[in-house]
């Protein structure tokens, strides 16, 4: 029962982060929101292993964390080294 509060809080923050990811306005804001969503997913996973009474499966959360890092670093690499045709602020201003 005591986990319900935390799960609720995490779900509320997921909603807020998703709104930020949908609003943008730059790609970097979306990437930031995506990174935070990954952290949230990791925490939710860890908590749900406790809810269903199998705390040994927390190592899956480690996999989530690593993947989150891989995704963010990939985003950074492509935006820094790639010639990506201005995915920055100017390109996004008329969207959403």
């Amino acid at each position: 029962m005591m986990y319900a509060v935390v799960v609720g809080a995490l779900l509320v923050s997921l909603c807020l982060l998703l709104v930020r990811a949908l609003l943008g306005p730059t790609v970097f804001d979306r990437a930031l929101a995506g990174n935070a969503v990954g952290t949230m997913a990791m925490l939710l996973l860890a908590i749900f292993q406790f809810v269903s009474g199998r705390p040994e499966f927390v190592d899956l959360a480690l996999v989530y964390g690593l993947l989150n890092i891989v995704g963010t670093i990939a985003v950074q690499k492509f935006f820094r080294y790639g010639d990506l045709g201005e995915p920055g602020v100017a390109d996004e201003e008329h969207r959403l």
């Binding site: 005591m2 986990y3 509060v5 935390v6 609720g8 809080a9 995490l10 509320v12 923050s13 997921l14 807020l16 982060l17 709104v19 930020r20 609003l23 306005p25 730059t26 970097f28 804001d29 990437a31 930031l32 929101a33 990174n35 935070a36 952290t39 949230m40 990791m42 925490l43 860890a46 908590i47 406790f50 705390p55 040994e56 927390v58 190592d59 959360a61 480690l62 964390g65 690593l66 989150n68 890092i69 963010t72 670093i73 985003v75 950074q76 935006f79 820094r80 995915p87 920055g88 602020v89 201003e93």
Partner: protein, 110 residues
Amino acid sequence: MSAAIDILSMILMGAGGVFCVIGAFGVLRMPGFYTRMHAASVIDTLGASLIIVGLVLQSGFTLASGKLLILWLLIFFCSPTASHSLANAAHRRGVTPWQPDQGAKSSSKN
């Protein structure tokens, strides 16, 4: 498990959840990209740490708490790296920091 530890872990996890909500609210509310990153780092550090410490208290001295500690270390070593790389990429791409005097323009853009 004694009731005191139970209550303590409940308080810690509740506080962690509150900080997660505050951080996510900040990510939504802050103007400009760099200021949003500061809000996100509240989630990554205090929110996640408090929840993990609460879960460690729940599981006691078992293998699960070892895994949770490794998870905590992972967050502490990797989340600043990811944040820095994002900020660096934005800096390289010429995302300018938000300034208070351009607030009207920026808020209309959002």
